[in-house]
């Protein structure tokens, strides 16, 4: 029963909005966040807790936008893959965020006490995980002072907008990039992940 309550608490802590079922806005997620970081997925560990498979991802923090102090965060996600059972299985939760090895993301996080006090969950289920282009433009690294949520929101909106467009638009000064095919992951606005570890 204790684990069950803890699991409920874990899941509950991913919420960040007032109305039942309403999709949270980016602003609502930012305002309620316990941490907002730019980070890269480094390690992954899946574990069974009371019949449910959870996966803990460890991220190396490139930038802590709220406090400037975090160097690593561990994030708990529902579902995962267990290759160690006699019959290996995947647990698929369609709405849960997934992170590829070395994927670079912006994470809007809420604290959870479970399984450990140091763990986070992604706010708004998958909505609080935003793929980042790679490498990070140097000019964007120092735009917002640490802790200013309005400016953090503006940075994240800019990232969301640019990832929505992929190569549709190349510059705020004016349009626009050719819809060229990308021959490698770093071309054509391809999102997030390094070619290989």
């Amino acid at each position: 029963m204790k684990l069950w309550i803890s699991t409920l608490a874990l899941l509950a802590s991913s919420g960040a909005w007032a109305l039942p079922g309403s999709p949270p806005t980016l602003e609502a997620l930012v305002q309620s966040a316990d941490a907002i970081v730019f980070a890269r997925a480094r390690e992954r560990e899946s574990m069974w807790v009371d019949g449910n498979l959870l996966t803990r991802y460890k991220f190396a923090v490139e930038e802590d936008l709220l406090r400037g102090t975090l160097r690593e965060v561990s994030v708990i996600v529902e579902g995962g893959v267990d290759v160690n059972r006699p019959i290996p299985v995947a647990v698929i939760v369609p709405h849960a965020p997934l992170f590829a090895q070395d994927q670079r993301v912006a994470l809007i996080l809420r604290r959870t006490d479970f399984p450990h006090k140091q763990d986070f969950v992604v706010a708004g289920d998958g909505r609080g995980a935003i793929s980042l282009a790679e490498p990070a433009p140097a000019s964007r690294q120092s735009v917002a002072p640490v802790g200013a949520r309005e400016q953090v929101l503006a940075r994240l909106q800019s990232i969301v907008n640019s990832s929505n467009n992929n190569s549709r638009s190349s510059s705020p000064q004016g349009p626009s990039g050719r819809h060229e095919r990308s021959n490698s992951p770093s071309v054509g606005g391809a999102p997030p992940v390094k070619e290989a570890p």
Partner: protein, 646 residues
């Protein structure tokens, strides 16, 4: 209770998987609207040490487990409480859940069968326990319902007596031919035998703790509808991904039931299955394709082949490179979208420990093939980017996430045009009808090599947070975005340009609301040195009236046969006259609170303060186009011109 996954064991298991996979049954790779899964099927080495590639699995129930037996959790009775909504007793919940299952069961061309067969007393969350549970204990999250499935990682021979979930009880019996609770202990046993990667072993449907109702009047007041939500989740429960169809099209705003869930204004409409939902359930579980078992024809069934055809082909760029992840769709004679599919087959980078990797598409992408099940008839076949607008399949499929990573979902929506299909078509809106009275192959789509000259209001996403401000302003007025002609001509690379059309980002707040504008046009205009703006709305170059916007997506205004002429105007006329292109959208004179803005689509740019106009490119008229101002009406917009080198 907590059991970490040990990596050392993983290496061993993975090695077995790599060896045995090639000898096992090859699963049929099928993209489209079928949920895909992580798998270790057909594992091969990649150029990167420690990383392999593997097929994606196709999530579905094995025929031996159809009918699928679910049990209703009884620990919360009544369900829901609060916000003044009457709690719903389980006595009313059970028939609502069965009705949701019956929506799928009653499809005559699909042999999926799901039934509520009993109850379970589990005070916690559903477990991996071979009990398919319907549970109302899930705490608040942003999703009001969810479907969790446990699937096989690779094709597996389940032997008699195997304890799959390691609870001390056998989950496999050689003495049965169908899934059933053969030992009477409450969980399901599988018949011994071989099962494909992606086979569902256990599926739990979870609803969060909020007020629920089955009463139509309360649904219309915004209370969450248990019936339509359950239909959606049981769609996932038998392997369906999110549909890209947010509206049927024409004058029909009905979204697919498997459309991405977003609001509660459309719930009653989503109680009825959309043709796309029916087509995909039938394609995954096609009636009349088996000699025995659930796929064999029985009373009331109709053979899939009797009612449906399958249109197939490839999506590629002009060089023949496959575009995995593109969305293909079919429109009927009345402009209704009846079916959609995700094109292409991609593998996934995997390691021995259950980790996955995005590798270059040259390594992962197998093809750009698609299969589109359609009721027999005549269709226009189109393709659009799988770019989160509408949100579509990206979040629910590995293939969608891979497509996003490959970064090629940036092309312009267009139609199959037969022999004229190429990467530099003059007229994107021209469609050659496909007579799909039997399965049709070779309907190959080539995406365009063009440029999107776009401008948008950077307040875009922020405006989502104060819809009242957005909904007040624009009724009956005109919004114009200027596209400088020198930017158009800069595309030509010395060859001249084709102006293929314009794209308008359009967005009604409710799925079922049709975003109909009185008109949209491509025209010309001038910004004088003194700042006075003139836009020629009386002599548009291209005009559509009315202009029916798509739901949360770009809506094309194709230039059609005028494309080459517009290119000549850009090259020879407008520079001499000092004019530019203007894209103009006219707003309805009627205020509609469910239709507040034009675009959910943002642009790359920095945050600007309220009241600024984006880059000085947008103009607004309150007097039918006589005068224009550069004020910002707090209106979302994202317009652009589509230009191709000649």
């Amino acid at each position: 209770m907590k059991t970490p996954v040990r990596k050392t064991e993983g290496v061993f298991v993975f090695a077995i998987a790599a060896v045995t996979a090639s000898a096992m049954l090859a699963s049929v790779a099928r993209a489209g609207a079928n949920l895909d899964t992580f798998s270790y099927e057909n594992v091969e080495p990649s150029p990167y040490p420690g990383i392999f590639t593997a097929d994606l699995g196709n999530m579905r129930w094995d025929d031996r487990c159809v009918s699928v037996e679910y049990r209703l959790n009884t620990t919360m009775d009544p369900i829901g409480d609060g916000f003044g909504v009457p709690p719903l007793p389980l006595a009313e919940v059970a028939p609502a859940i069965q009705a949701a299952m019956d929506s799928w069961n009653d499809i005559p061309t699909s042999y999926i069968e799901m039934n509520l067969e009993g109850t379970v007393n589990n005070p916690g969350l559903p477990r991996y326990d071979f009990i398919n549970e319907v549970n109302f204990n899930r705490p608040y999250t942003s999703y009001i319902g969810s479907s969790r499935a446990i699937t096989l990682l690779r094709t597996t021979d389940l032997a008699d007596g195997t304890d799959i979930d390691r609870d001390g009880d056998s989950d496999v019996s050689a003495g049965i031919g169908t899934c059933q609770d053969v030992d009477g202990d409450g969980d399901i046993e599988f018949p011994a035998g071989v099962y494909a990667a992606g086979t569902i072993l256990d599926n739990d449907i979870q609803f969060i703790i909020v007020p629920w109702t089955v009463d139509e009047q309360l649904v219309l007041q915004g209370v969450w509808d248990l019936v339509s939500t359950a239909i959606h989740e049981f769609g996932h429960g038998h392997g369906l991904a999110h549909s890209a169809i947010y509206e049927t099209g024409g004058t029909d705003g009905t979204p697919a039931t498997m459309g991405y869930p977003g609001d509660n204004f459309d719930q009653l409409a989503q109680r009825s299955l959309h043709p796309d939902d029916i087509a995909w359930s039938s394609f995954l579980y096609p009636e009349g394709t088996r000699d025995e078992g659930p796929g064999a024809l029985q009373d009331g069934d109709i053979a899939f082949d009797e009612r449906y055809a399958v249109v197939s082909g490839n999506v590629s760029d002009e060089h023949g490179s496959p575009i995995a992840g593109a969305l293909v769709f079919a429109r009927d004679y009345s402009n209704r979208i009846v079916s959609s599919a995700v094109a292409g087959k991609s593998r996934l980078g995997v390691d021995a420990f259950g980790g996955y990797y995005y590798l270059p598409e040259e390594i992962l992408v197998q093809d750009g093939a698609y299969e589109l099940p359609v009721p027999k008839g005549i269709y226009r076949i189109g393709v659009e980017p799988n770019d989160r607008f509408p949100e579509a399949t990206l979040g629910s499929m590995y293939l969608g996430r891979l497509a996003e990573y490959f970064g090629r979902q940036t092309f312009t929506e267009e139609y199959y045009s037969g022999k004229k299909e190429s990467g530099h078509e003059v007229s994107l809106g021209t469609a050659v009808p496909v007579f799909a009275f039997e399965s049709k192959t070779g309907i190959d789509l080539v995406i365009e090599d063009n440029v999107f000259l776009e401008y948008a209001n950077p307040l875009d996403l922020a405006a989502f947070d104060f819809l009242g401000g957005v909904s007040i302003g624009p009724h009956g007025n005109l919004l114009a975005v200027r596209i400088p002609v020198e930017q158009v001509n800069a595309v030509d690379e010395g060859r001249g340009v084709i102006v293929q059309g314009a794209l308008f980002g359009t967005f009604p707040w409710a799925f079922s609301t049709i975003a109909e504008y009185p008109s949209a046009m491509i025209t010309t205009g001038r910004v004088a040195a003194n700042g006075i703006v003139t836009v020629d709305t009386n002599h548009p170059l291209v005009r559509a009236a009315p202009f029916t916007g798509q739901d949360r997506d770009f809506t094309p205004l194709y230039a059609g046969g005028k494309s080459l002429g517009l290119g000549a105007i850009a090259e020879h006329v407008l520079p001499r006259q000092g004019k530019d292109f203007f894209l103009v959208l006219e707003f309805s004179p009627e205020e509609d609170p469910l239709f507040p803005g034009t675009s959910p689509l943002g642009i790359l740019g920095d945050f600007v303060t309220e009241g600024e106009t984006a880059y000085g490119m947008a103009y607004y008229s309150r007097d039918k186009g006589k005068t224009w101002s550069a004020e910002n009406p707090l209106l979302n917009y994202h317009f652009g011109l589509v230009v191709s080198p000649r």
